[in-house]
Symmetry: C2
Subunit: 401 residues, 2 copies
């Protein structure tokens, strides 16, 4: 009993049958005496279809109009879900982002939530309505519609849970929870019972597509307890919270990220401040650099290697060619980043060597290494990525938990 926020992604409401399925999950929760706020994304491919319609007319359309267009997607899904809940005989009302009080800044297509005016949400809850809220969208100070960017519905759900001090925020997806590795690819991938916010953040950043990163950051900031679970299979999922039980494993998961390009600058003149100039230039063009490796200087030159996202690779090369002379600039997009994540690893000095050993035994060459308190990432050939994940997973995750 309490206030529960439930979020369902686009595939969970893709058609009439699935909408009815979600309605049943929601009303089951309500029947147990809970107040329920449901956040939904646009149905299935709606957002992509709308983007395609826009591109057909004007691929460089103003982002304000893009948001005006895209917000129609959740408008459709919330009203349909409300109709389904009504059909099951429960009191319900749907609210658009602005009706639910989502105030954002004015960065169209990637807006940030400034605050939630909770009056309407509270009033509907007080009337014992199940409230269906459009995720992903809000309104700015000019009364124009905005969207939060891909995965924004997770953030919408967590923001409501934080604003209304909900007892729990459940994120329903098409998987049963957070796994130690992609269960479709890795034999013996385990579902985690619990995971910390920080671990979840690393997993999300490193390519596990279960939860949107900003939503985890926000959950951590406001102490919102998250649960990731399946909308199709009603079993307990994974709880994300501040302190998680470690279970019997050293790490929480192994991830693979293929959206990586490796940019190399060879024989770079080693003048003072050159690295600063290079990275501030990239940053000014909104290119995020992930791992950086710098060789020890030799003959007044050095080598600088770094990773960026795949589509930023060629852009970075072009920028660098304009600003640097007398050096060789290359870009390799046939690489992948494999990472292990776990809050306990910093107190276990053997973790890194265990990972490297597993890769060595599988004959996989490591091109770059990056470590943080709770993760270790390596850059390897893209073709070896799946093998690497399996090998590392096998080395760390016991078969029986």
């Amino acid at each position: 009993m309490g206030l529960i926020v439930q979020k369902f992604g686009g595939s969970s409401v893709a058609n009439a049958e699935r909408v009815m399925n979600v309605a049943r999950i929601v009303t089951d929760t309500y029947k147990k005496g809970n107040d329920v706020i449901v956040v939904v994304s646009a149905q299935g491919d709606t957002t992509d279809d709308l983007i395609e319609k826009a591109n057909e007319i004007n691929p460089n359309a103003a982002k304000r109009e893009m948001d005006q267009l895209l917000t129609a997607g959740e408008q459709i899904s919330i009203s349909l879900l409300a109709m389904a809940i009504e059909k099951l005989g429960f009191p319900v009302i749907s609210l658009l982002g602005w009706q639910a009080g989502f105030n954002t800044n004015s960065i169209y297509t990637a807006a940030r939530i400034k605050n939630i005016r909770p009056n309407r949400l509270q009033a509907e809850i007080a009337k014992h309505n199940i409230v269906v809220v459009a995720g992903f969208q809000g309104i700015n100070r000019y009364d124009d519609l905005t969207t939060l960017g891909r995965g924004g519905s997770d953030t919408s759900a967590v923001a409501i849970a934080a604003a209304l001090k909900a007892d729990k925020c459940q994120i329903f997806t098409d998987v049963e929870g957070v796994y130690t590795a992609d269960p479709r690819k890795v034999e013996n991938a385990k579902k985690l019972k619990e995971i910390t916010y920080d671990e979840m953040l690393e997993l999300a950043t490193l390519g596990a597509q279960v939860l949107n990163n900003r939503s985890v950051e926000m959950a951590k900031k406001y102490g919102v307890e998250l649960e990731v679970l399946s909308s199709l299979n009603p079993v307990p999922g994974t709880i994300v919270k501040e302190v998680a039980k470690m279970e019997k494993m050293l790490i929480r998961g192994v991830t693979k990220d293929k959206d990586v390009a490796l940019v190399s600058i060879l024989n770079l003149q080693d003048t003072p401040g050159i690295a600063f100039k290079i990275f501030s230039k990239l940053s000014s063009k909104n290119i995020n650099v992930d791992i950086i490796l710098q060789s020890i200087g030799r003959d007044g030159t050095k080598d600088l290697v770094f990773t960026v996202s795949k589509d930023n690779g060629p852009v970075a090369v072009e920028l660098l060619e304009d600003m640097l002379d007398n050096c060789t600039i290359k870009c390799n997009t046939e690489v992948a980043k494999v990472s292990i994540v776990g809050a306990g690893m910093e107190s276990h000095p053997g973790t890194a060597s265990k990972m490297f050993e597993a890769l060595y035994e599988s004959n996989i060459n490591i091109q770059m290494i990056s470590t943080s308190e709770i993760k270790i990432s390596v850059v390897i050939d893209a073709e070896a990525a799946d093998r690497a994940v399996s090998a590392v997973h096998k080395a760390f995750i016991p078969n029986e938990l």
Copy 2:
């Protein structure tokens, strides 16, 4: 030069190509030095598709949710049209009904406009933006979305023209204007250069589907000059205004309405107030009665015959069977109403007999007759409707104007 409101229906913006076509018409008007506000409906079959989605889930869904759903349709078309206008290099902004200030009452799916708060529209016009406004929709006092009912976009356009005192309101459709009869069915149907509001109202009520009735009423009330013209063929259309030149014809048009059911009550006990009781009962169930015919009483009984819309026929019969005894109640849905409309007819006494003669010569039996100052309607067998329209049209409309 001035402020022009242009309205485009769903078929005019059905796909990317047509949206670009509309963008060209709008920007051509803007280039001539006009301020332009464009009102659009949802694309092609969008509204029907959304209704189907709703019916699949809950055919009896709350009307508030239906409006929440349907308003997504124009949201898509306005943003796409704005993108198309932007592509042609013109400053533009799209506004939803509520952003454009449309305040309505709370009768969901059939709301009435209470007023338009013109601030935002005026501000955008002052910035020299072309403003694309979602037709058909508004917002009520609870901040919930409403729709104006089918054909509501015409009303939206006229309401804006009235509120901002526009110089003209152009209604673009897929025909070139208002015709003396349906040009696809009647040879020699003529396009009218001008028509009065009252004549247009009768034509609209009687089945000419060019303009929504409420929009004509509003245009008359606020003196908004309307022009009906084609979005595909750039020729002058039909002007609708207070006083119209009569051209060389006695009537403005011949219409056919097949949405008619003829309900007969035979041998009705002729007690005082019985007709009142019958029609107030029908009215209380929102059944509009059109033509009424009452026979002269005989043996203490009389016959009462009236027309209602086709789907109301069986409903009316059921109501009457519950309240009346000892009489025969029948419903005939195989009828049609054929009408002639023209402000000049009251001063030409031969108009009715000329119409009846044309029908007689075509061997068409008249079941009921109804007249007003500017129209004459007859109810006939449905199968004869097209023949009747042709015969009457030929009798009244000269081949060469």
